[in-house]
Every structure is written in C-alpha cells, then in structure tokens.
C-alpha cells in the first residue's frame, strides 16, 4: 500500500470513482451468478475477490485519497466487497448442494429389493402361549412349579383322589408305562399294562402324566405353605388323533393353598387371568362339574372376546370364535379336594385351596383360529413362523 498523499486529487483516482466501483461490483456479482459449477465459481472468486481482482486493487488505492475522501470511498468499496463475498458464499453453498444432490441421486438404489439373507426363526406358539399364561399368574406372585412327564401312578392318580377302580380313572385315557422285565428293558414283547390287570393300573406303576395336576402334589409336598404355584407342560391321553384332539397336548394349571381360601378367591383369580389374557370387561361363569381332585368343581366359561356375546342376539352377526354361543369354554376348576390335602399331609381343617386348569392348544385354537391340531404337532415352519417370539 502506498503512503498517503494528502495533496493528491481524488478525482484523479478514476478507479475509485463511484461509478467504477458499482461497475466492478455488478461485474463480480454477474460472474458469480453465472458460475454453473464449483469450478467456474472458483474462477469467479479469483477474478473478483483475489488479491489482484479490481475490487482488491481499488481497496488498495483508498489510502491514496485525501483524508476527507477516504471514508466515503472506503465505505463504498467495503460494501461492494462484502456483497461480492456474500454472493460467493451463497453461490458456493448452492452449488455444493447441487453437486451433492446429483451425487446422491446417482447412488440411489431400489429399496424394494428383498434382503432375506438371514434365515427367520420363531418359537412354537404352544411354548409362547404357555409362557404368556404362566406370566399372568407370575405377575400375581405365583411361582412356576415343575414335574416329570413320566410320573408315578400315585402322583398322577392316587394322591389326586382318583382311586384304582373308580370310574374317574377311566375318564382319562391313560398311556401306561410297561414293566421293565427284560434285562435291557427295550424291545421286549407282550406284557402290556392292561393284560392281567384291571386296566386301571400298569405293572410299572408309572404313566405318561394325563394332566399337569401331579405337579400340584409335588408342589404341596415340597414347598412350605402357603403355596401359590402355576405349572404348564406336556400331558398325554390315549385319545384318537384328530382335528381337535391330540394324544400329546399341553395344560396350564394354577393352584393356591392357604388359610381361608374360598370359591370367591377362585373366581377372582380366574377373572384376573381372563383380564390378563384377553382384556378388560369379559364376564366369566361357572358351571357345576366333577373332577376327583376338586370338590366343589366347576367348568369355567368366559364371554367370547371376539363378539362379546353380540352374536347370540337375534340378527347379530355369527361369530366364528364362539360358534355364536357367546361363551367360550375356558377350562376346569374347583376347590382342592380336602382328600388331596390329606394325601399331602396338609390339615384340611386349617387350609383350603383352589385349582384351575386349561388346555394350551385349545386356547390357541379359539384365540388364534388354529383350525387343526395337526398343525401344532407337525413342525411345519409355515405354521409356526408367523407367531414369532411372543404371543
């Protein structure tokens, strides 16, 4: 920058004439606006903002003006430079965005392409349904009790007040375990549990459990009172295998034994269970029935969660879930027969209890519209996959 020259005539510095500054500014702005890409913009920046650009040169000459003129010229040139810088910045941003937009557009893919590389898995609905049911009871403070699938007759029948030769024993078609009279027990012939026997007992004294109730006995024998347990698992009946019956199926059972337990507690627990499983506001009803291990006994129905009874009205739409009965058979229940308590060494004058059981497959059938029992035992992945991890 040259030293100030106080005698210099500003008129002589033509580059700082207002018209000239405006022209330079307009030229710069036009070049910036005309820059079609970042490369051209870079050139425009060199031409109009770099050290050797006209505006930079003009700026350098301000010092040559007489002091009175400097402020005015400085203001004018500064404003022009600022406008140009701003235009450059804006255009830079615009062009960068355009460049990015183009680049990303080129990288676009067909997002509808499938990506089914990882195999999909699922848990069996019978498993998840059992967990869901037990969890409702666990949330009430119940613990989950377990027992073997091959169990002793005493646990499966006798202790549950199903004596030998009682018709109740033949209510349940039992798979009997054959006696082990061969050295290795396997592949031996004959000697079925029914020959030479009354048909209500086997030689081995063991059965494939016909219900989860023997677990009640094991729980009552092994746990301190009061007992609040739920058990779920595989059970067996030598039924025909058809669309609605399987010789291998699953039950869930709740049991409460405490002082002062009544049928009102049983109803309350079942209502809580129905709320937990099927939602609010569904009524339940008891019908008197008979189970050897409970007295009194009842069958439990719940209001159909699908139609809420509406399908029974004349003109109501038919309901596939309850066959338009308005009610769904849920399971069986009752007050633990005091004889069962006695067989477990519990004083029936002090303690009472309730028990409630239901079929897992049956629940799946009405809750999820499973039409055929075969689907639940065949292991066809097309059946199981939609059920995912939880139910």
């Amino acid at each position: 920058m040259s030293a100030s020259n106080q005698s210099y005539d500003p008129v002589e510095v033509s580059i700082l004439k207002p018209d000239e500054v405006d022209r330079m500014r307009a030229q710069a702005l036009q070049a910036i606006a005309a820059a079609a890409n970042l490369e051209e913009l870079k050139r425009a920046r060199l031409d109009h903002m770099a050290d050797r650009s006209p505006l930079a040169l003009a700026n350098r000459e301000i010092g040559a003006l007489p002091p009175a003129a400097r402020a005015d010229a400085g203001k004018r040139v500064g404003a022009a430079r600022k406008a140009v810088a701003q235009a450059l910045q804006d255009r830079q941003a615009e062009l960068e965005e355009e460049r990015d937009r183009n680049a990303l557009a080129q990288e676009a893919v067909d997002v509808t392409l499938p990506w089914d590389r990882a195999p999909r898995g699922a848990r069996h609905p019978v498993t998840t349904m059992q967990e869901r049911m037990t969890d409702v009871f666990v949330s009430m403070g119940f613990e989950v009790a377990e027992g073997p699938e091959v169990d002793a007759e005493w646990f499966n029948f006798d202790a549950l007040n199903i004596p030998l030769d009682h018709p109740a024993r033949s209510m349940q078609d039992t798979f009997w375990i054959a006696g082990q009279d061969g050295p290795d027990g396997s592949n031996q012939s004959g000697q079925s549990g029914q020959s030479g026997q009354s048909g209500q007992s086997g030689q081995s004294g063991m059965v494939l459990r016909t219900h989860t109730s023997p677990v009640q006995i094991r729980a009552l024998l092994s746990r301190p009172l009061p007992v609040y347990v739920v058990s779920a698992g595989r059970t067996f009946r030598s039924d025909e295998f058809d669309a609605t019956h399987s010789p291998v199926f699953h039950q869930m059972e709740g049991l409460a034994v405490d002082e002062g337990i009544t049928m009102a507690d049983l109803r309350g627990a079942i209502e809580a269970f129905v709320r937990g499983m099927f939602g609010e506001g569904l009524r339940t009803r008891f019908r008197p029935s008979y189970f050897p291990f409970t007295e009194p006994s009842a069958e439990v129905d719940m209001e159909c969660f699908a139609c809420r009874g509406a399908s029974t009205d004349t003109g109501g739409r038919s309901c596939r879930t309850c066959d338009s009965a308005g009610w769904i058979e849920l399971g069986g229940c009752g007050m633990v027969n005091p004889r069962v308590l006695v067989a477990c060494g519990i004083d029936p004058d002090r303690y009472s209890g309730w028990a409630f059981g239901l079929g897992v497959e049956r629940t799946l059938m009405f809750r999820h519209g499973v039409a055929d029992m075969h689907d639940m035992v065949e292991g066809d992945v097309r059946f199981t996959l939609p059920f995912g991890m939880e139910i």
Partner: protein, 821 residues
C-alpha cells in the same frame, strides 16, 4: 343318559310351557351336563291316523311284489294305498300318513299315481315315523287303538330328548328318576318318585337264594311270575320311550327290565325259571370256572369275579351280563327276576377284566340306590303281569348283608366357608333336604344322605350340593391378594433365553411327539451298546410302530425336517427343547403306590421317585438346504456342520458357558464331521453333519446337519461380570502359522491366546489356507490378534513382544511355524 321330556314330565310337575332347551339350561346350572337337546318329531305334521287294513290286493308284474290296500281310517270311504311292505295282514291296525301330512326329514305325503294305481297316503314304518330304527316293514300297532285316532298323540311321536353326559359322581342321574328329582328342585315343583311303590307285606319267599360273599353283594332280591305269554308284544309307548332313550326294543320281558332300569336306575336280570337248578348263591368265582355269557363268549373266570351261581355252577356275571344257559327265550313262561346291589369296585374290575361294558355295569360302577331292589323287582313283576298276561307269584326272596349308613357331620356354615358366601343355616338345611338328606342339629349338622346318593361322603360333597343349588353364578369374585413370589427360577429363565436365542438365530421351534421305535434307533445307526437304546416302553402305545419313549430328540425333529422338505420347504432349520426318558439301571421294577390317608414320609416319596426314569431336558437343532439363499446380492450358503456347532454355541452362550469343541465319532453323525461339545470337562452334547446312512434312512436332504445337547448338564448362568472398557487405542497384529493339517484350529487358537497374555483383547481366525506353498499335509491358519492395555497406549514393541510370545506358545504346543512371506 338320554331323557325324553315326556317321560320326565310324568314324574315332575314341570310348567306346561317348559321346553327341552329351558330345562337343559336349568339342569346345566345344577350340574347335569346336557350335551344336546334333540327335537324329535317336531317336523312331523298330520293328518297321521290309526287305520285298519280292510283288504289287500297283491299286484304283480313289478320288480318287487306290491300291495294295494284298502284301509279304514274312520272316514266314510276307505283310503286306497300302495304299500311295498309285506309284514301285515288284513285286519291289522297301522299308521296312515294321509295326503297333506309331512314325515320327519321333510317327506311330504300326497295323493299320487304309482304302480298304475292312485295311492292316497302311506302306511308308515317306525323309522319313517322317527320312533324307531326298524324299516324292514311297516308298523303293525299292538292292541286295538281306535280307528281314525291321531297317531302322533298315540305314539308320542313328538318329544324333546335331552342327552346328558353324567359325571361319574352322579350315578343317580343315570335314571329318569334322578333327573326328574333334579328338575323338580331346579323349578321348585313337586316330584313324584317312580320308585314309590309299596310291595305287599309278604312272609313267603320266592326262589331260594343267599349271599355267600357279603363284600360282593349286600342285597339280593328274587321274585317270580308264571304263565307269561312269550308272544305278548311290548306296547308302543314303551317301545318309543326305549327308542328315545337309545335302546332297541327286543321282547316284552327284556324291554320291561330295560325300561325299569332307565326309569329307576336299577339294573334287573330275568332268568328262565325252568333253566335254574337249586338255590342261587352270590359268590366269587373259583379258579378254573367258566361261563358262556349272552354274547356267546365263553369266559374263564377270575377268582375276584362276582358271580350268580346255582347248583349247576355260574349262571351270570353279576351286574354285567347274564349267562346263556339260563337266558329267557321265546318259549319262557316262568320268569325269575333278579334285582340286586353289588359292590361297585368288584363290578368295575370284572367289567375291565372281561371288557364287558353294559348299561347295567355302567350303573353299578357309579353307585345304584340300595333301597331299589325290592321295589324294582315288584314293579317288574307288575308290568309283566299287566302287559304279558302273567300270573303274580306272591313271595319274595330277600338276602342281604349289613351295609354301613354314611353320616356326615359339618358345621352349619361349612358351605359358607367353602364358597365365600353367607348362606346361613336355614338355606343349608333346606338345600340338603331338597336332595333327600336327613339333617339334624343346629350349629353342627348331622347329615344322613339318601340311599340314592352314595357319592355324598365328605363335608365338601355336601357343600357342593348347597352351592350348586344356590347357584354358582351367585359366588362373588374376590380380587387376588398379591403374594410374595420369587418370579421365574434361573433355570426357567434360561429355557426361555435359549428358545429366543435359537429363534433369533433363524431356527423354528417344533414340538414333536416323544414316541419312537427300535427302527428309529437303528436308523440313527446307534451301536448295540449305546445308552440311547435303553428305553421305556408304553404298554398301550398310540401306534404299535412307535411304542418307545424317546432317548434323543433327533428322530422327531428329523421327521419334521423331512416333512417340511417334502412340502417344498427344504431350506429349513428346526429346534426342539424337551425331555428325554432314560431308565435307570438300578430302578425298582415298580413305583410303589403310597397311602392317601396321610402325607407320605420323605423316604416314601424318594421310593416313588427312584422308580422314575431320568428325564433330562435337551435341546436339539436340525438344518438342511441353504442357510442363506442365493439372491441378487450373489451366492447363497449351504447349511453345514458348522451351523450346527454354532447353534450349540448359541445355546451355551445363553447359559454363560464357553463351549469347547473337539472332534469325535458318535452316531448319528458323520464320523469326520462330528464335534463333541464340552463345558469344562463335562460332555454336554454333539453336533455336526449327519452320517449319510442316517440321511438316507430318514429321506433327508443331503448334508443335513444336527446338534443335540443336554441343557440339564449346563449350570444355570452366573451373573455376568462387567468388563473394564479401555479407552486406549488397540494394537492389531496379524499372524499366519503353518501346522499339521490334522491339527484342530481350536488348539492353535488356544495356544496363541494363552501365549499372548493379558494384553490380548481378542483373537480371530480369518483364513485357512492349504496349497503347494504350504506343503503336503500342512495348513496355514491366519489370525488377527488385537492387543490393548487398560491404562496406556501400547507401543509397537509391546504389541510385537506379545505376538511373539503367542507364536512361541503355539509353536511349542502345536508345532506351529510362523509363515514366512
């Protein structure tokens, strides 16, 4: 039990407008499970009248003989009717459906031309009328009903029939009498007991009889009639009722005994007096005795069987089935009627031993009213006299053994305490009286159940009666009070984790039947001494092909896999978690049956459990086809032995266990592609590719792989200890070592890991190479070792030293040589 409403109405004063459905709802609420209400004959419309056949003209020239009949139906002119049946004669009374009538099933009757004649209606069979099964001929009405009378009314052709599934405790409901009593209570209307007959006071006895075994029978009654007309016909009303109740009319004598059994619940038996020899004795069978029963089966008797015998030997299986030799037949005129009360357990055993289920035994097993035999025998005699023209023989034989009367004492508020409802003493007494109990006492009630309720034994039995009659719907719901539970056990949570982890890894859970067979064990190529060949057998298996209980989960899963493949889903991975059954070599032959009148001692429980097989929980995986499909991204990846082993690691990880893998030879796996799986020193399972012979035997896709491990052998997971996360940068070093081709990579990795020391953060095998550069019988394993210190940035020297130490350890333990270049 099938109950015609009309029959019931005879004994209970039901309001006239009560329908079968109404009654069913009330009975269900009271505890009788009415399964169906059958509306019989409600689609039957008249005119249906009694007619008399005046004249029969036989028409010929058709495919079968045809009759053209003139039938008097009470009009001025007889009807002309074509009929194909031949079991009637001129003068017989028949049922005529006149034109305009409609028979069950929507069968409209009109006047029409057939066989060249005008037929003005139809002569009906019982099947056409819906009151019987017989359609072999038309119904010839017994007796002399009025000509032109309404046959619908006469025959009781319209009725509601309730089918009740009677629970085993309610034997009394296996009779019209028992159901009528419940209906009367339900509606609060009078009940008329069909057993309320007063046999005359008699001192003489009938045919001689005695009870030799009082544990078998505590009441035995005989009564006689003589001069019975064997050709006498069962009246229509009785035939229709038998039919409605599900029994087939046979002959008057048999029908009367069946009718009374249905009405009263007392099974009866009729002997031909002429075929009896000497005194009748009720006793148990003797070894070697035989009896040919009515079904023409000669049965070898068991010393426990309860028999009716005479001087000739056994003549009847008590309570189950009569003997052929003393059966009444079409010539029997003198009949001895037996009505007895047998021991339910004794009958139950006989029935099962001989598979002799009958209507009679069904009732005896469930408890028959001990006060019925005298009355039922008397009513039988009356009916045979009235309907069969027999002569009543005064005198009755009544043998009995003392029976204990049940008396139950309960606090008057016992039902209240069971139900959680305040009924009050008066309600309790009223309800117990309703069902026939005698009740005495105030706060403490002494209750004597009626003779027809042998099921009432315990205080809770009485509570149930009160509660059900007061209505189960009136029991309130008391919200559950939360109890202090511990939630799921560690083991229970682990099972869920394992299931979720396998599903997340792409396996679909299957729940297969636990039944298996010797063929399965052979197909798995198990050696003769393999522990999995020691199985439990089901005595009465679902299928004789699969009588054994599984000792491995694989057969069920492999069949499910083959099924999926057969249905077009060959790229599939399945898993199952379930019990297997392993008999204990030292188990007692029989699980003892303990007492039930007290709690068992711990050693008694142990003695029962000792007989049970081990039932460990296993988890298994099978997979085949493409584990990853080919797609637009490129190549797929076939399922392999490595997936199976990785599935095992997935399971182990969920239990917090580190799995050690070692090569093994174990059926059913491919001997060169089988891994034994260890946790520490414990063998927990196997995994790998299946043996080609197994794959062939089960028809599986090639290279099917499987894993099975015993979850019960894995300890439940311990809580995870949080790792220290270093924020210093890692130093990564790759090494390639050459080892003998047979040297397991896992051993090399373990040696490297150990040699690398504490600075090693992770080690990963990233390449396996074999080829000329390496040399015959050798392989190169390339690992990435990542080092990091918790407290500083490692120097290149430190990382290099650790790597060298790792390689040195590998060299020493596995003969590994650092690969040059």
């Amino acid at each position: 039990m099938r109950v015609p409403l009309s029959w019931l109405r005879e004994h209970v004063e039901l309001p006239a407008d009560v329908t079968g459905r109404d009654l069913a709802a009330r009975l269900i609420a009271a505890g009788l499970e009415v399964e169906t209400v059958e509306s019989a004959g409600h689609d039957l419309t008249g005119p249906l009248v009694v007619g008399r056949v005046l004249e029969i003209e036989e028409l010929t020239g058709f495919k079968k003989p045809i009759r053209y009949c003139r039938v008097d139906v009470g009009n001025a002119e007889p009807q002309q009717i074509i009929c194909g049946a031949r079991n009637f004669a001129e003068g017989d009374r028949v049922v005529v459906a006149l034109p305009g009538s409609e028979l069950p099933g929507g069968f409209k009757i009109g006047a029409r031309k057939t066989y060249g004649r005008m037929s003005e209606g139809m002569i009906c069979s019982v099947a056409e009328l819906g009151i019987g099964d017989d359609h072999s001929g038309i119904l010839v009405l017994p007796g002399e009903p009025e000509i032109g009378a309404d046959a619908i009314e006469l025959l009781g052709a319209r009725d509601d029939v309730l089918d009740i599934a009677v629970t085993p405790d309610r034997g009394y409901a296996l009779s019209i009498r028992g159901v009528a009593r419940e209906a009367a209570i339900a509606y609060g209307v009078p009940f008329h007991d069909p057993a309320e007959v007063k046999p005359p006071e008699e001192t003489e006895t009938s045919h001689p009889a005695s009870i030799a075994d009082p544990t078998a029978c505590d009441r035995f009654v005989l009564r006689e009639i003589r001069g019975f007309d064997p050709s006498a016909q069962t009246p229509m009303w009785m035939r229709v009722r038998l039919h409605r109740a599900g029994m087939r009319p046979v002959s008057l004598a048999v029908d009367v005994t069946n009718y009374l059994m249905l009405e009263l619940g007392q099974p009866l038996h009729a002997f031909d007096r002429a075929k009896l020899t000497g005194e009748i004795v009720v006793r148990r069978a003797r070894a070697g005795e035989k009896l040919e029963t009515l079904d023409h089966v000669t049965r070898t008797l068991d010393p426990e069987d309860i028999l009716i015998t005479d001087a000739s030997g056994p003549i009847s299986m008590a309570g189950a089935m009569g003997g052929l030799a003393t059966e009444i037949d079409e010539e029997s005129t003198d009949i001895v009627i037996e009505a007895a009360h047998f021991d339910p357990v004794g009958i139950a055993r006989t029935v099962r031993r001989h598979r002799l289920h009958s209507e009679a035994s069904y009732r005896f097993e469930r408890g028959v009213d001990r006060e019925l035999p005298l009355r039922a025998a008397y009513r039988a005699a009356q009916l045979l006299v009235e309907l069969g023209g027999a002569e009543f023989v005064p005198g009755v034989t009544h043998a009995e053994a003392p029976a204990e009367q049940t008396v139950i004492t309960i606090p008057a508020d016992h039902p209240d305490r069971v139900a959680g409802v305040r009924y009050g003493r008066d309600t309790v007494v009223r309800r117990l009286t309703d069902i026939g109990c005698t009740v005495a006492g105030d706060d403490e009630l002494t209750v004597t159940p009626p003779s027809w309720r042998p099921d009432l034994v315990d205080p809770n039995d009485l509570a149930e009666e009160v509660i059900r009659l007061e209505g189960y719907e009136n029991i309130p719901a008391r919200p559950p009070r939360p109890v202090a539970g511990q939630g799921l056990t560690a083991d229970q949570r682990r099972r869920r984790r394992v299931g979720r982890a396998l599903a997340a890894a792409g396996y679909v859970e299957a729940l297969t039947f636990p039944f298996t067979s010797g063929k399965d064990l052979d197909d798995l190529q198990l050696p003769a001494d393999d522990g999995r060949r020691r199985t439990l057998r089901v005595a009465n298996p679902m299928s004789e092909d699969e009588p054994l209980l599984r000792t491995t989960l694989l057969p069920g899963l492999l069949k499910a896999l083959a099924r999926n493949a057969g249905r077009g889903c060959g790229d599939v991975g399945l898993f199952e978690m379930g019990l297997v059954f392993r008999p204990r070599p030292d188990a007692p032959a029989q699980a003892p049956r303990l007492a039930v009148d007290r709690g068992p001692a711990p050693e008694e429980i142990a003695s029962v459990n000792a007989a049970l097989p081990d039932q460990p929980l296993r988890v298994a995986v099978v997979l085949a086809g493409e584990r990853e499909p080919a797609g637009w991204w490129g190549q797929g990846r076939p399922a392999s032995w490595a997936d199976a082993i990785e599935a095992a690691r997935t399971v182990a990880r969920e239990t917090g266990a580190e799995l050690t893998v070692a090569a093994d030879r174990h059926a059913p796996w491919h001997p060169g592609r089988c891994a034994a799986l260890y946790v520490g020193d414990t063998l927990v399972g196997h995994a790998g590719e299946l043996h080609p012979r197994v794959i062939a035997a089960y028809g599986l896709p090639p290279r099917t792989s499987a894993m099975e491990l015993e979850l019960s052998r894995l300890a439940p997971p311990a809580p995870v200890r949080a790792p220290h996360v270093s924020t210093y940068p890692p130093a990564t070093q790759d090494v390639a070592v050459v080892v003998d081709a047979a040297r397991p990579a896992a051993e090399v990795e373990a040696a490297l890991r150990e040699g690398a020391g504490e600075l090693l953060e992770s080690i990963r095998l990233f390449d396996v190479y074999t080829g000329e550069q390496i040399g015959e019988g050798r392989k190169s394993l390339a690992f990435t070792l990542r080092f990091r210190a918790p407290d500083r940035t490692l120097t290149a020297e430190e990382a290099g030293a650790a790597r060298d130490a790792a390689v040195a350890a590998a060299a020493e333990r596995t003969g590994a040589v650092l690969r040059s270049g």
